[in-house]
Every structure is written in C-alpha cells, then in structure tokens.
C-alpha cells in the first residue's frame, strides 16, 4: 500500500483523532491555567490551611508520573466513588499535572514584580484584591508568558497519554491503525508529523502572538 493509499484509507480516523487531541489540549490548558493561578495565589497569600492544600497539590502532581495520575483519575477514583468520563479524566489529569508546574511560574512572576508597584498601589489606597488584579497580575502575566509557551507545548505532548485510558485521540487512532494493519511507520510517522505541526505551527505561534500583544499593552513594544 502506498502512503497515499494509506492516507486515503485512514485520514478520516487520523483527522478525528487530531480534533480530539486539540480539544483535549485546549481543555487541559484551561484547567492548567486555572489550577496554576489559584494555587500560585494561595501559596503567596498568608492563609495557612489553604497554603497547605496548595503545597500538597503541587508536590503530588509534580513529584509523580503523569501516567500514574491518569490511571488514578480513571481507575482508582471510581473505587472511591468518583466516576469520571474517560474524556474528562483525560484532560483533567493532564491539566492538573501541568498546572502544578504552572503554579511555580505564577508565584515566581508575581514575586518578581517590583515592590514599588505594590507600594504605589497601596499609596493610592487600593484594596489588596485591586492591587493584585489590576496592578500586579497584568505585569506578572507579561513576565510569565514565555515560560508558559514552553509549558503549553508540554501539555500538548502530554495529552498523548490519554490514549492509554482509551480516549480516541490522535495517538489512540494511530495505535489502532497499527494494530489492525501493522503499518507502524506510516501510522506513527503521520502522528509524529501532526504533533509536530500542532506544536510548531499552532501552539508556539499563538503563544508568541500573545506575548507580543501583552508586551504592546504594557508599552514595551
């Protein structure tokens, strides 16, 4: 079978898988951003009990393997009475895992906003919440966007693991095609190229564009 014939036979499944991968990526990215901001802020606030929760979250998700976390979400949680759809378990596990890394980016970026900005905001009598949301976070965002760009690519690649709990993403389809046809080079080669295109020509340019927009808003460009 020529490669063109291969594509003719299996492009539908590969496209379906790619769309699922993109969807998993977008949802996982949203979960990661939310988890990172919430746990990053909690770690900075002087709220002792909440701080402990955030620390435990960050330690567990950074210190253990994503695959094991995924299996926990899909196979173990139901035993504890929490059943998740495999699709939901997929992006939730991936998002929470990378959110734990993102939390450190959020915390570091907020801490690197100069003290004088807090003080100027306080001198204007802004409330603690106003100081954070209107003055500090917008500046922290510009600082942390470049490392977030890398993390986004990691999240995309991380979503390939959801195939192992049978979410029909790109990796899952490639494996199925391989199991049925033994055309490993074509199946996994095509998947490889598609992941690369997503990372290199979708996610990265999008993040660069965001960086430029934010830099312009802060008057740096």
């Amino acid at each position: 079978m020529s490669y063109l014939e291969f594509l003719g036979n299996y492009s539908d499944r590969l496209i379906d898988g790619s769309l699922i991968t993109l969807l998993q990526f977008v949802l996982a990215a949203l979960v990661a951003v939310a988890a990172a901001i919430i746990s990053g802020l909690i770690k900075l606030a002087q709220l002792k009990p909440l701080q402990a929760v955030a620390t435990v979250y960050i330690e567990i998700f950074r210190g253990t393997s994503l695959l094991v976390q995924l299996y926990w979400f899909f196979f173990v949680l139901p035993l504890l009475g929490v059943s998740l759809e495999k699709f939901v378990a997929g992006f939730l596990a991936v998002g929470l895992c990378y959110g734990a890394y993102g939390a450190e980016l959020v915390r570091g970026a907020i801490q690197s906003v100069p003290r004088g900005q807090w003080e100027a905001a306080l001198a204007l009598n802004m409330s603690p919440a106003q100081r954070m949301w209107r003055i500090i976070l917008p500046q922290a965002l510009v600082i942390m966007l470049p490392p977030w760009g890398n993390l986004m690519v990691e999240i995309l690649k991380g979503t390939a693991l959801v195939a192992l709990i049978s979410v029909p993403d790109l990796m899952f389809e490639a494996r199925q095609i391989n199991n049925n046809t033994y055309l490993s080079a074509q199946a996994f080669g095509t998947a490889l190229v598609i992941y690369y295109i997503f990372a290199r020509f979708v996610v990265t340019p999008l993040m660069r564009w965001l960086e430029r927009v934010m830099a312009r808003r802060i008057g740096r460009a």
């Binding site: 003080e119 100027a120 306080l122 001198a123 204007l124 009598n125 802004m126 003055i135 008057g219």
Partner: protein, 272 residues
C-alpha cells in the same frame, strides 16, 4: 508594641490641630532603632522639609505616615485622628485594615523611582485611583486627570506609557497621579534623586507651584539644600531617628546651633 497607648489622646482637640502629628514614635528593624521617640507636628498647609545623613530615618518617617511600615511605639495622628491606631472601648488599639483604608485616603506619596504602573498610559495611571478607589465615573475621572496632567505640563503625553517618558516626565505624572486622589497631605521622598540634572527643574517647578497654592500639607525629603531652603516653611534636620534641630530655613542653613547640623551642612555644601 509597648502597651502604653493609654497616655495618648483618642483624638487631638483644641484650636490649632496639626495636620500630621508624630507622638513619641519609635520604629525598629530588629535591634536597629530607626525612629527614636520622634515628635513631629506639621500644621495644615505647611511645607516641612526633612534633611539629614543617610540612614537617619527620613524615608521611614514618610513610609510610616503612608502606612507602608508599622511603628513599634507611639502614635501618629492625621487631621486630629489617630492613623496607626483606632479607638476601641475608650482605648487606642492598633488600627485594623478598615481604619487604615479610611485614613490613607488623606495621604498621597511620590517615590524616588516614580513607580508608575507600566501597563497603563499616563492618563490611565492618573485615572486608576479615582475610578477604582473613589468610584468616580470614568469621564469625571478623565477630566480630573487631564486637568492635573495639564498642571504638571504633561497634557501632550497623556496617551504614552511610562516606558516612553523621561524620568522627569514620569515623576510629573506620578505627582499628578497622587494629586488625583485629592489628598490633604503629600509626601515626597527624594523625588529628584533619580533624575538627570537637567530634569530636576521641571519637577521642582511643579512642587513649587503646589507650595504656592497653600492648600496642601507637604512633607518632603530631599538632598537639594537650595530647593529646601527656598520653598520650606520649616526644615527638620534628622539625626539617628529623631529631630536634632529644626527651624525656619534661614536659621537652619545660616545659623545652625547644633554641631551635628553644622557638620552635616558643611559636608553637603562641600560636596556640591
């Protein structure tokens, strides 16, 4: 804090209530006493300049008044009301956040390094406080901000971000931003120290025009002795966290009584 607040009045009363009053204020960093039982009154509309050697506590006076630092002893009053403390059951207790927010509204501050918000234009910097804190409608806040930017000679640059402005321009915007909150007391901490020499004049001119209006009470820390002498109603020479000598500018600069004042001034004049 020593629990000796019983000997301070709950409120200042009488005819000539100072706008700012430090009563026996002590501030420590660990073992280092930075303000040492400081007493300082500033009358409404008065311009008081603080001079003194590095580390003598000048900045700490302003930061304590802005509530950027907490004090370890004594009480600060603003407009007759305690700032660092509040009344509770007939006694003065340490101020809570709510009290601090209410009292802070009377005070504005300009910093050595301007501290403009880099993600906002000059105009937005000046509108932020009035809109977010005072709850002014946007067009009213814009009008107020533009008027003040005009006063500091920055109308033309109102749409620029701070990164596009020179140091002198940034400091003038910072002054407008503080004034937009309509404070009763303005604090200036070495606002010309980070500027190139040719930009100092544009900032001192703005402060001079504020002095001429006689409505603001001002406390200024500066190393510019000529400017201090020209515009101050009173000059306080700080040494070791308290006032070593104070008086009219002419007296302090021409016939200082204390030896430390004489030494400091001759050292500063030699350096210039």
């Amino acid at each position: 804090m020593n629990d000796d607040t019983g000997r301070y009045p709950l409120k200042l009363e009488g005819d000539n209530i100072p706008m700012v009053s430090f009563r026996n204020v002590t501030k420590k960093y660990g073992d280092l006493t930075v303000l040492d039982r400081l007493d300082l009154d500033v009358a409404p509309g008065e311009m008081v300049t603080i001079i003194g050697p590095s580390g003598s506590g000048k900045t700490t006076v302003l930061r304590s008044l802005m509530t950027l630092e907490t004090i370890d002893g004594g009480v600060i009053y603003v407009d007759g009301e305690p700032l660092t403390h509040m009344e509770k059951g007939g006694k003065l207790v340490r101020a809570n956040q709510r009290h601090l927010r209410r009292m802070r509204a009377k005070i504005g501050m300009c910093f050595q390094h301007f501290n403009l918000f880099p993600h906002m234009t000059a105009l937005e910097n000046c509108m932020e406080g009035p809109v977010q804190v005072l709850g002014l409608p946007k067009d009213e806040a814009r009008e107020r901000a533009l008027e003040l930017l005009g006063m500091v000679g920055m109308s033309e640059k109102s749409d620029q971000h701070p990164s596009r402005l020179s140091g002198g321009q940034q400091q003038r915007v910072a002054i407008a931003r503080a004034l937009a909150m309509r404070p009763s007391v303005m604090l200036f901490d070495e606002v010309t120290s980070a500027l190139d020499p040719e930009m100092i004049g544009e900032v001192t001119n703005v402060i001079r025009s504020l002095v001429d209006q006689h409505s603001l009470t001002m406390l200024m820390v500066t190393h510019q002795m000529g400017f201090a002498r020209e515009i101050s109603d009173r000059v306080c020479f700080f040494y070791g966290g308290s006032i070593e000598e104070q008086g009219a500018p002419a007296t302090i600069f021409e016939t200082p009584e204390k030896e430390r004042t004489q030494q400091f001034l001759s050292a500063v004049l030699q350096a210039n």
